[in-house]
Point group: none
Chain length 203, copies 4
DNA sequence: CATGAATGAGCTTTCATTCAT
DNA sequence: AATGAATGAAAGCTCATTCAT
């Protein structure tokens, strides 16, 4: 005999957030398909049916996790932008490292997400309709700053943006699982950008 | 409508290769779980049962695709190593770009693979038993070369290896889908390593 | 054509029992492998997926059917034990005949089960972990009773137990399918134990 | 490139017998469904395709195994019949024990067979068309002998036949897997028929 | 006489989703 | 707000059988 009526402890807002948090971790770890509603429900302490009280479809839940995460991450990165390109880069990478330290599932989810969007036709369609301005603007903004301060040539803009995107993805996909390796990679990147990592061969 | 029994044209060697090639493309695109035996069989022009004539389990097929791809890629990258660190880097990145040009599914599969190995417990277990020496040695060799030629400080070794790994993963996961963006990112990386991308701010 | 969602009339307890009852009949008739989830689901009026709402694996279902049946049968047989060996034997065989009359699938399942446990490695492993004390104790108890009343020599104990086991299995495997033949065999056994079936040859 | 033409060592007659022998063991152990053509081919050292050179269908192979086994067993049992019922019984049970000692798969197959015939509609149909006269006649003959010698009452004929059938099946299904237990059961049966196992209670 | 490539149907199991309660 | 009974589709895999070679 299940208890009827509204459970005493139930708080929709808070339950919803618990679902989103568990979902981010599971999606980050196992991917979209690899995360069953059942596993999610178990993690949250609900049944699969209850999930549908909060989200119409698994896809909608995934989307909401994405938007939450994206917002949280870029709020932090944007706050780290400074007066020069190199200082901003340093700040942004440090901020990324800090985020990864506090909650590794943030970066892991975003990396996992890029894969799932490519793999899943259905997910791809929905993501195509999202507003990605913020993400694009962020890298473009960094480059613009570098050109303004004279740190970058205007002609190297696209190249630098592509480079930043590549490095970011490498950090997320490659080393966000281990704090130590993440630290090392971040230090390497900064040192390289400062021109202090490599010099011409001895001869 | 093919009939029962052995088809006239059957050639085991060639069919096996067709399976592996189709599998690499599908695994690269849709991942391990996202690639059903059915989809693979359809792509090759067989039934799912026939696949088991060649591979005992889906996992074995995946493994074989991996080993084939890994071998092919590192044969090419190792051939591109030169006398100095910077020349080797340039050569290796160009070789990678060439490979990606000829058959994008090679890099895409390897990127896809890293994700699947993390997501799939079963895949992870099997991969743990594989010999990854070659992959590890490759980056370590590049760094040793740089130290020998004086291009790198010995103390920066670990940092540089982590950086190379990060950049490689970024290239594979981030931009191997588009030739143009891949080109741009490669050029950016080379220019950055040459110290010709960034300079101190004007003031 | 039932629709999706929970049917109005659903009653878990009763459905579960219907599954177990149908399963016993099918397992008795067709064996473990010969009984497909599909056939069982059809017999109960469900889909195969619904079975997994009640049992995690086919094997668990089989086990539960076994325990139910075993308990039911031995409850009846033990109740038939009397003051002397010969009266107990008569009572137990009559009880067995009665059970077989009421629901032939009980004995048939147990006979079928012994075969399946030998045939199926997986089934054998699980059954090895079960507690078979009750079954063993039952025959041992009968023999002890016979020795106590002087009906049996103590030295014939093991032989008599083996004989009882053999006769029981013969009844179950050989003639439980036909009431008439079962009756005849039971009568023959009793008469034989009473010493009224065979006498020395005429000469 | 498979070797073409007739393999040097091939001897149809002998290969056929090897198939039948392996088949009897596998069918006895795992049953009809539980024995795959593949497993049988492996045991014999052939491929599944080759089996079809000797038998049109799995079912035909099974049938042939049955007829071979049945003939072999009853040749032996009939040879053990003596002048009186009790001596015949003793002889037949000893013969059965000897057979079981020499090749346990004989009795095991026959026990396994009865189950499979009941479980498998297709098998049942084919067995219904077989001539079971010999098996039936054998028990009837024993009973007739007992009546002739005065060891049995004519009125107890059907009952005794049912009893013999029950005991035989019990021996085969229950204890043919272990020589020791088989021996014990055989001794118990003989002693019981001799009237030397049970006596009235002490009062 | 024998191989081995291939089919098509079947199996157990998992899953997203629905909906009466 | 939440449960849990149920569906229907799909998955990986096995199998008896066929037949070109």
């Amino acid at each position: 005999m299940p208890r009827l009526g509204r459970p005493a402890a139930a708080n929709a807002q808070e339950t919803r957030q618990r679902i989103l948090d568990s979902a981010r971790k599971l999606f980050a770890d196992k991917g979209y398909d690899g995360t069953s509603n059942r596993a999610l429900a178990d993690a949250v302490g609900l049944t699969t049916g209850a999930l549908y009280h909060y989200f119409d479809r698994k896809l909608d839940l995934y989307l909401e996790v994405y938007e939450d995460t994206q917002r949280h991450v870029y709020d932090n990165l944007e706050a780290a932008v400074a007066d020069t390109f190199i200082d901003s880069l340093r700040g942004v990478l440090e901020a990324a490292h800090g985020l990864n330290n506090d909650d590794p599932s943030l970066a892991q989810f975003l990396g996992s997400c890029r894969v799932d969007v490519q793999r899943h036709a259905e997910l791809g369609e929905v993501f195509a309709t999202l507003d990605h301005t913020r993400q694009n603007d962020f890298f473009a903004g960094l480059v613009r700053l570098g050109v303004k301060t004279g740190e970058l040539d205007a002609g190297d803009g696209a190249r630098t943006a592509a480079l930043l995107r590549t490095v970011t993805i490498g950090l997320v996909d490659g080393v966000s699982g281990s704090q130590a390796r993440h630290r090392e990679a971040v230090d390497g990147i900064i040192q390289l950008f400062e021109g202090k990592l490599v010099r011409p061969p001895a001869t």
